[in-house]
């Protein structure tokens, strides 16, 4: 029982990370119609900046707070310079963002070498709750993710800015005709998505440690989450990320991790084949 609960807890914390990544990936895919292959590298950059701050004497928590902003700035610059040329050209976007990903990944590889670098968690130790021990840092990850989801949902659903974002997502032509600058909305959304990926990177680096190929695994799982949940809604990708994230975190408790990975991938592709519009198809949320 205790192991089961602990497993559940680990699964939850990993799923939280996936949700953070997919939140950005999903909204970029829904709004601009492109799959951002550089998203995994934003995660990597978030992890790198956290390590960089820590290595230069800043407290880890401060580095973690600043990393998403730094990644956001990079994301904004890339959107203005490169990404905006790819909107509504999905194939070119994949290739172009992949080239961007290569640039970022190889830069980080050049900076850190082929090493695995560790960053300590800002919260060490565990909380005991009803006789069970929970690692504090994983609790914090879950809490931060919930907070981020709540904030983005409030932003999208309750504010006039959110209304403009949803308008640009649903019908960009009509949004432009109504005086909304979709260009600006796209730039802000992309920056926000990049920053969220950076946050995810900052949060996972104490658990996974920093290495140049950190992003790829998250990227593929994120894509599967987005496709599974269905492009075009806010809740869909989060749900998809939840499914993919929890499946790939839960199965290794039962079968060998590699078989679990492959199984999750095959199952996700299979479901997509049957439900091309995602598991929420038809029920627009």
């Amino acid at each position: 029982m205790a192991t089961a609960l602990n497993a559940l807890f680990e699964i939850l914390s990993f799923t939280s990370i996936m949700v953070l990544i997919v939140l950005g990936l999903g909204i970029i895919a829904s709004m601009m119609g492109i799959f951002n292959f550089a998203h995994g590298e934003f995660v990597l950059l978030g992890a790198y900046f956290t390590w960089f701050g820590h290595a230069h004497g800043a407290p880890v928590w401060l580095a973690m707070v600043l990393a998403p902003f730094a990644v956001g700035v990079i994301g904004f610059a890339l959107e203005r310079l490169v990404i905006r040329r790819f909107y509504d050209r999905p194939v070119m976007a994949m290739l172009g963002t992949y080239a961007l990903a290569v640039v970022m990944r190889e830069t980080v590889r050049g900076l850190i070498g082929g090493l695995y670098l560790n960053v300590p968690a800002p919260l060490v130790g565990s909380v005991s709750l009803g006789g069970l021990e929970f690692a504090q840092w994983r609790l914090a990850i879950i809490a931060i993710t919930l907070l981020v989801i709540l904030c983005s949902w409030t932003l999208l659903a309750m504010t006039s800015f959110g209304l403009r974002v949803r308008a640009s997502l649903e019908n960009p032509a009509l949004a432009r005709a109504s005086g909304i600058s979709t260009k600006a909305i796209y730039a802000i959304t992309f920056t926000f998505g990049a920053a969220l990926a950076g946050l995810a990177g900052a949060l996972v680096v104490p658990i996974f440690s920093l290495f140049a190929d950190l992003g790829l695994r998250f990227l593929i799982q994120g894509f599967l989450g987005v496709m599974l949940g269905g492009v075009g809604s806010f809740v869909g990708p989060i749900l998809g990320a939840g499914v993919v994230g929890s499946a790939s975190a839960a199965l290794p408790w039962v079968i060998s991790p590699v078989v679990a990975d492959v199984l999750v991938f095959v199952a996700a592709i299979g479901v997509m084949k049957l439900l091309p519009n995602g598991i929420l198809a038809g029920r627009r949320v």
């Binding site: 799959f35 490169v82 040329r85 050209r89 999905p90 194939v91 070119m92 994949m94 290739l95 172009g96 992949y98 080239a99 961007l100 290569v102 640039v103 190889e106 830069t107 590889r109 050049g110 790829l216 593929i220 894509f223 599967l224 496709m227 060998s256 590699v258 990975d261 492959v262 991938f265 095959v266 996700a268 592709i269 997509m272 084949k273 091309p276």
Partner: protein, 353 residues
């Protein structure tokens, strides 16, 4: 790019009646490339001959990607899957059964590529719902990623280290040394190139070009678009398999990244750099990038991959027709289909070929 960035009309009638007669440059490029490869071993040091056979093998892989993307518009991020799987198969044949005869190895590599790509494409491309471009791209990407993970942890396949000690290729008692292997690769490369050239310039190729540019319209005409796509994907998979089998014998070992995402995407970028939609463009892309990497990665080990990424980004943004676009015109890049005169597309000049 062919189906992404085009703003004008579909290229089938790119040769409008008013287009002046032009001199063909593509055959010149082709002759130059194949002529160079034919005499290269006499001009270069031995170790560079080995490098040149590697170029031709990778060029085969690039041709296989070019067939699916450049000619049929299927975005495949998993060509290395067939390459690597065939490589592993022939390495296993050599290790467990002691078979290294060229008469067994090459058909086996071809067959593995063919079977695997048929499986993948019939799952991804056929079915009730026509698949979206992103679905196919992500499906192939995921397949390559999963295969690499499997190979990395499967003890039978050697895990991280792969399978070392692939012996030289044999034919009876004859062993293919560096030079003989080079000419074997060259012969296969030339044969595959000519076959593909005939394929994409046939009426089948015309249908493929139609699918690439206006899939829905071709569907309305009554073409079974999915079947065409599956066929070309399977042919390309067989070519990738052949290349993988050769590569295993070229390197003397196989390792997990041979079927991974990184190699798959590298091949995509080679093709883009050289110019998709012309077979020779894919070959040129491999030659250009691999040679530059060979020359520069020693001096600039950390900077070079970054520079390469930037170059590719610039090509994708500003030169979607790639290197070959610098040499040949749009009109020639599109090409003609079938026998001249008899079934020329509407508007094609009679002196087209």
């Amino acid at each position: 790019m062919l189906n992404g960035g085009r703003t004008g009309p579909a290229p089938l009638n790119a040769g409008a009646p008013t287009a002046p007669a032009f001199r063909r440059r593509l055959p010149l490029v082709e002759w130059a490339v194949f002529g160079t490869f034919a005499v290269l071993p006499f001009l270069l040091a031995d170790f560079l001959t080995v490098f040149a056979s590697r170029l031709m093998i990778l060029a085969l892989l690039a041709i296989s990607f070019d067939l699916v993307y450049g000619f049929a518009g299927i975005m495949s991020f998993g060509q290395a899957l067939f390459f690597g799987a065939a490589g592993y198969s022939v390495a296993l044949l050599a290790r467990d059964l002691g078979v290294s005869s060229v008469l067994v190895v090459l058909p086996a590599a071809l067959g593995v590529g063919l079977a695997l790509s048929w499986l993948v494409s019939s799952f991804l491309l056929l079915g009730r719902h026509p698949p979206s471009v992103t679905f196919v791209a992500l499906g192939t990407l995921t397949a390559a990623f999963a295969a690499e993970e499997l190979a990395r942890s499967w003890y039978y396949l050697g895990g991280q280290n792969g399978i070392p000690g692939v012996p030289p290729l044999t034919l009876g008692h004859f062993e293919f040394s560096d030079l003989a292997f080079y000419y074997l690769v060259f012969a296969l490369f030339a044969a595959v190139y000519l076959l593909c050239r005939a394929l994409v310039r046939s009426q089948f190729g015309l249908a493929l070009a139609g699918i690439r540019d206006q899939e829905q319209r071709l569907g309305f005409f009554g073409y079974r678009v999915d079947t065409f796509k599956t066929i070309v994907f399977t042919i390309a998979g067989a070519i990738a398999g052949l290349a993988g089998g050769l590569y295993a014998y070229h390197e003397g070992f196989v390792w997990p990244s041979m079927m991974g995402v990184v190699l798959s995407t590298q091949i995509v970028l080679y093709c883009l750099f050289g110019g998709v939609g012309t077979l020779i463009g894919a070959v040129l892309g491999v030659i250009a990038i691999e040679s530059a990497t060979y020359a520069l990665s020693e001096q600039l080990p950390t900077i070079w991959p970054v520079v390469l990424g930037v170059i590719l980004l610039v090509v994708i943004l500003f030169r979607p027709t790639g290197l070959i676009g610098l040499v040949v015109s749009e009109r020639e890049r599109t090409g003609d289909f079938g026998r001249p005169g008899s079934v020329a597309p509407r508007g094609a000049p009679s002196d087209a070929a």
